[in-house]
């Protein structure tokens, strides 16, 4: 995953007490101005530029020409693009629930107070987050390999014939495992932090009413951290749609399994940097951005509705 941003917020904490009218002034701009300036340069300007680029096409005859929405119609009919989208959709449908499910179970286990050595578990399971995607992918890539890897060793030792995890049939699952390994601890920590904020008086009341642990989990804990779950889901979806680093680094080891249009991001990258099709690449990136936002928004709505 490329830049899985830690959860920025869906809703901010109940805003600080509204300042008095007379304190409303431009002073705050002195503090936030620098952030806004850089933000405009590295977020807003590229978005605008991207939209501009997507409306042009570099033609052999006539140079750069305004083509309106032609690039978009082309992309919507582009099989290569939709195959890549299908691949990341499949990836996210399987990998995200597994990753978040494990993270949730671990967070609940940590929060239950039933573990020996709790803080050891918490910090150890979080550690992979500190490992760069490059290193994580290299490690797992070597381990997957039949030559130096564990798969080869196991096959040799037990006479088994485990499948080649870098073959076209298996490589998506192999990438899923790497991404899960990288982010399960991070998501666990988000859930765990949210669980710690629940007032303990709720548990006491539930216990007096005769609720067991499972009841407390399903009726108190899970509803209370729904916000965190929705945010983690949204950011995992964004991460899946952006999948690039892992397949790109794994590619030297699995060249026939990972094509240059393996994910939408890979496709835009190849279009732009190997094919010099900047305009079309920008178009594909925008469509992916819009698609991501639609899915993220749908998840958010669904998450909210359940809460109601």
């Amino acid at each position: 995953m490329t830049t899985l941003q830690p959860p920025a917020a869906a809703e901010p904490r109940p805003a600080p007490p509204p300042a008095k009218r007379d304190r409303r002034s431009w002073t705050g701009w002195g503090f936030i101005g620098p952030f806004v300036a850089v933000f405009a340069l590295v977020f807003l300007a590229p978005i605008a530029y991207s939209i501009y680029l997507s409306l042009f096409r570099n033609q052999l005859i006539g140079g750069n020409q305004f083509v309106g929405l032609d690039n978009y119609t082309q992309a919507l009919k582009d099989d290569q693009f939709w195959q890549a989208v299908g691949r990341v959709a499949l990836f996210l449908a399987i990998q995200v629930p597994i990753m978040l499910g494990i993270a949730l179970l671990v967070a609940l286990a940590l929060d239950s107070g039933r573990l020996y050595g709790k803080s050891f578990f918490r910090i150890t399971i979080f550690l992979p987050y500190a490992v760069p995607a490059v290193v994580a992918t290299l490690m797992w890539g070597f381990m997957y390999g039949t030559k130096y890897g564990l798969v080869g060793d196991i096959n040799e030792a037990f006479g088994t014939s485990l499948p080649d995890l870098l073959s076209p049939d298996w490589v998506l699952a192999s990438i899923g495992n790497i991404v899960t390994w990288e982010f399960v601890g991070y998501n666990m920590l988000i859930f765990y932090s949210a669980l710690r904020v629940i007032p303990t008086s709720l548990y006491e009341a539930a216990e007096i009413d005769g609720a067991g642990q499972w009841r407390i989990i399903s009726s108190i804990k899970l509803p209370a951290i729904r916000g965190a779950i929705v945010i983690a889901t949204i950011f995992s979806i964004i991460g899946s749609f952006q999948l690039f680093n892992e397949p790109n680094i794994l590619r030297p080891l699995a060249r026939n399994a990972i094509t240059t249009d393996y994910t939408p991001n890979f496709y835009t990258y190849s279009l732009s940097f190997n094919g010099q099709q900047h305009n079309y690449s920008a178009t594909v990136a925008i469509i992916m951005g819009v698609l991501t936002m639609i899915v993220a928004y749908a998840v958010q709505l669904r998450g909210m509705r359940k809460g109601a």
Binding site: T2, A15, G28, F31, F35, A109, S112, I125, V134, P199
Partner: protein
């Protein structure tokens, strides 16, 4: 004057720990089964790291000849480390220094901007405040890689590609850091304290540095750590921005070494890739372990409360 009123920052940082301790002492019985399951999870987490440590002790020949989960006959760790640092005129050292440069300027700058901005959002009312929040949160949902190509083209026109600035400038913005600092500042800094300082005649800059900053310490450590991870681990941005290996960060350098095996006549140096990987992850893991008290409390304060 104002310095004397600074409350210990830890107080506001860990409001969540203490009450939990009192909760029916000794009630939840510790479970061996649950601990066992968690141990399996830890095994999954650390197995690749153990693999990395073991295999960084092997020579290139040893890597192929020995079992991945145990040491080879020759113990080549020190030799590997030396070769990693000296290979190709010490390019690894150069990458390490580059990474440090990107982290200091990128993550440091991002943290500074987030602290200033978060403080403004938490403690000032100013025109455009709501708009800023909406735009920043909206922009977070835009996939970072969708921005990569246009950012590259823009920077290329400005003559910034293939310079450290192409990596540093985009690293300066951390929407998550801004959000975290906002939530943190809203809780950790009592508004009365600021008003008292202003009443005493301190100007805004002085109030910020002497009153607010000390109270923000755990939040700052948290944001700094997360922006550091983001910058240290950054791969995609340098990949598109940098051509010259002299400006590569560690991540890009390691992946270049890895694909070197593919090029015809290229030196196969998987032992250096593995040892270099190990050297790359140690500083961050150490930082997380040493600072865990701070960042965990900072994160807890920023977690979504409902």
């Amino acid at each position: 004057m104002s310095t004397s009123v600074a409350a210990p920052p830890t107080k506001s940082a860990s409001p969540l720990r203490t009450p939990r301790k009192k909760h029916n002492p000794g009630k939840p019985k510790r479970s061996l089964l649950l601990t066992g399951l968690m141990a399996l999870m830890v095994l999954y987490t650390v197995a690749p790291l153990i693999w990395l440590v073991i295999n960084s002790t092997k020579t290139q020949a040893g890597l192929g000849a020995s079992n991945g989960l145990w040491f080879a006959h020759d113990f080549a760790l020190w030799d590997n480390i030396r070769t990693t640092f000296t290979y190709h005129d010490g390019i690894f050292v150069r990458w390490l220094l580059n990474t440090l440069l990107y982290v200091v300027l990128g993550a440091g700058g991002a943290t500074l901007l987030a602290v200033l901005g978060g403080y403004a959002l938490a403690k000032f009312d100013f025109p455009g405040k709501r708009g800023i929040f909406a735009v920043v949160i909206g922009a977070v949902a835009v996939p970072g890689t969708a921005l990569a190509v246009p950012t590259f083209l823009m920077f290329s026109k400005m003559g910034l590609t293939d310079t450290p600035w192409a990596v540093i400038i985009p690293s300066l913005v951390s929407p998550f850091g801004l959000y975290l600092m906002w939530v943190f500042a809203a809780e950790a800094i009592p508004t009365e304290l600021l008003e008292a300082a202003r009443m005493d005649g301190a100007n805004e800059v002085r109030t910020f540095f002497q009153v607010a900053l000390p109270l923000l310490a755990p939040g700052i450590v948290t944001v700094l750590l997360f922006t550091t991870v983001a910058t240290w681990n950054n791969y995609f941005l340098p990949l598109i921005m940098l051509k010259d290996p002299d400006w590569y960060p560690l991540t890009l350098g390691l992946s270049a070494w890895n694909s070197q095996a593919e090029t015809i006549g290229g030196d196969v140096i998987f032992n250096l890739v593995i040892t270099g990987s190990l050297i790359t992850i140690i500083p961050l893991i150490a930082a997380f372990l040493f600072l865990q008290k701070y960042w965990q409390s900072g994160l807890a304060a920023g977690s979504v409360k409902e």
